[in-house]
Symmetry: C2
Subunit: 273 residues, 2 copies
C-alpha cells in the first residue's frame, strides 16, 4: 500500500515535516512518499498545491495525508478542499492554548522565524565559525572559549555533532581527534589536560567504524578492521583511565548524540530555538 | 506575566520543541521560559519532571504549559498528573490517523530516529564533509559532485547555509566567496564558469554586513560601511550580469535561506528527514 504524505506550510515547512515524519514513522506497514510544499502564501499557490495533492490521490488510489501549518484562513480553506486527509496542526492546539492562556494569539505561524532575531543569528553564526575553526584539533588556543570539546577516534561523529550543536543550540563545540601517539601511551594529549573538565568522548563500534572509514579511504591501513579495533579500544581505555564521560555513538543520530550530550553534561543552550 | 513552557519527550525532544516553539510564538504578549526535558523514559524520570513542573507552577504563580511526546502510557499518565496545562501531541493525531489509515500504529515515537538508518547516516556525514572540504572556495576540483554552489561576498551566510543543507537534507553544497578581483572586473571567476548552472547567489543588506563583519574584525577596511556597500553592489551586479539566481538573506534565518533555495531551484533532497 502506497500513500503520499504532504507537508504544507506558508513558511519553511519544517514544523509540519518534523511532526508529520514522527507521526508517520508510527505506521511502519505503510510506505509513504514525502512531499514538502513550503511557502504556500497565496491562494494561487494553495490551488497549485491542491492540484498536486489531487493528482497523487488519483495515482496512489488513496487519499494523501496532508499535514498543514498555514495561518491565513482563506489559504487554509483552499487546502482543506483537497482530496486528501488533512491535519491542521496549528488550529488543533492554538484554540486550547488561547483558552488556557486567556489571550488571543496572533496565529501567525513562523513569524518568530521570519523576523530574525539579530542576537540569535550572531550567536549561531559565531558558534558555527567556532566549530569550523576548532575542527579536528586544528588549533587549541581558542579552547578557553569552548563550551565543550569532543574527543575520540577519527570518524566517530565528532565533526557533525559539533556543527549540529552550533547550528541548533549556538554552543561552541571544538573537537580533538585522538592520534596513534596518544593511543600508544594511553594518555590524554598534553594540550587537553587543562581543559579536561570540558572534554566529552565519543566512541563507536569498530565494525561500523571500519565501514565508515572504508567508504572514505578504501584499502588503507586506516580503514582496516584491525586498526579500527585497536583505536577504539585505546580511546575507551583513555576515557576510562582519565575519567572522561563518554558515549557510544554507533546507533545514534546526530540529533540524539547532541541532545544526549546536553542532557548528560548539563551544558546550557545559548539559543532557545 | 511569566509562564514556563516544558517540552517533554522520551526521545530528543526535538519534535515537542519545534511545534511548541512555533505555537508559543503566536502568543507575543506572554514571556515563556523554555525548558526541555528529553529522554524521559522511565516513571522515575517522569516523577522528576513532574516535580520540576510543579515547582515552576509555584514560582510562576501560573500553571506551566507542557508539550509532551511520550509513547509509554504509564509514563504519560505520570506526566498528565502534573500541575501544568498538558498538550499530548502524539495522541492528538495518532488516533485520527489510525482511523484514516485503517491500521494501528506502533506509537513508538522517535523509533525512526533511534534506529539509525545507515544509508541516511552516510549520506548526511558525506554531505557534511563535502561542505567542509569545499568551504570558502578552498578547492574547486570537487565541484562536479556539487548539488549547488553558493556564492556571494564574505560573511553573507554561505557557510552556515551549506552546513545546514548538508545536515538537514544531505545536499552537497560548496561555497565560493567573491573576491575584490572579481568585483573589479564585474565578472564571474573563471573557475565558476563551467559550473554556472549550479550557482546560487546570496546577497545581504550592506548595513547588516557591516555589523556582522565589525563583530568579527573590528576597525578593519573589510568591516567598513564603504567596503561592504561596494562589495554588495558589485556582487549583485555580477549576479544580474551573468544571470545567476540570487536571494537577499538579510532578514532570513538559515532554515529559511536553505528551504527557499530548495524551493526556488528544485534541487532534490537526498534525505527524507
Amino acid at each position: 500500500m502506497k500513500r503520499s504524505a504532504f507537508f504544507i506550510s506558508d513558511g519553511t515547512g519544517i514544523t509540519a515535516e518534523n511532526l508529520g515524519h514522527s507521526l508517520l514513522s508510527q505506521f511502519g506497514s505503510i510506505e509513504f512518499e514525502h512531499i514538502t510544499i513550503p511557502y504556500v502564501d497565496s491562494q494561487e499557490k494553495a490551488h497549485e498545491a491542491v492540484a498536486q495533492i489531487n493528482k497523487a490521490a488519483v495515482n496512489d488510489g488513496n487519499p494523501p495525508v496532508v499535514f498543514e501549518t498555514i495561518v491565513d484562513q482563506d489559504i487554509r480553506t483552499v487546502i482543506s478542499r483537497c482530496k486528501g486527509f488533512t491535519l491542521d496542526i496549528f488550529s488543533t492546539f492554538v484554540h486550547p492554548l488561547e483558552k488556557e492562556l486567556q489571550t488571543s494569539s496572533s496565529y501567525t505561524v513562523g513569524q518568530s522565524h521570519s523576523i530574525v532575531d539579530e542576537s540569535s543569528y550572531k550567536i549561531r553564526i559565531e558558534a558555527v565559525h567556532y566549530a569550523l575553526d576548532n575542527d579536528d584539533g586544528a588549533r587549541t588556543r581558542q579552547y578557553p572559549e569552548a563550551d565543550i570539546i569532543l574527543t575520540g577516534v577519527s570518524r566517530c561523529g565528532k565533526t557533525p555533532t559539533c556543527l549540529y550543536l552550533a547550528l541548533q543550540f549556538g554552543i561552541k563545540a571544538a573537537n580533538y581527534p585522538l592520534t596513534e601517539d596518544d593511543m600508544d601511551d594511553l594518555k590524554l594529549p598534553k594540550v587537553l589536560n587543562e581543559h579536561k573538565h570540558k572534554l566529552f568522548g565519543l566512541t563507536i563500534d569498530p565494525i561500523r567504524l571500519t565501514a565508515i572509514r572504508s567508504e572514505r579511504k578504501a584499502n588503507t591501513k586506516y580503514a582496516t578492521a584491525r586498526q579500527c579495533e585497536m583505536e577504539v579500544r585505546a580511546a575507551q581505555a583513555i576515557f576510562n583511565k582519565v575519567n572522561i564521560p563518554y558515549m557510544d555513538a554507533t546507533d545514534l543520530s546526530i540529533e540524539e548524540i547532541s541532545t544526549r550530550i546536553l542532557a548528560q553534561t548539563g551544558i546550557e543552550r545559548r539559543l532557545q530555538g
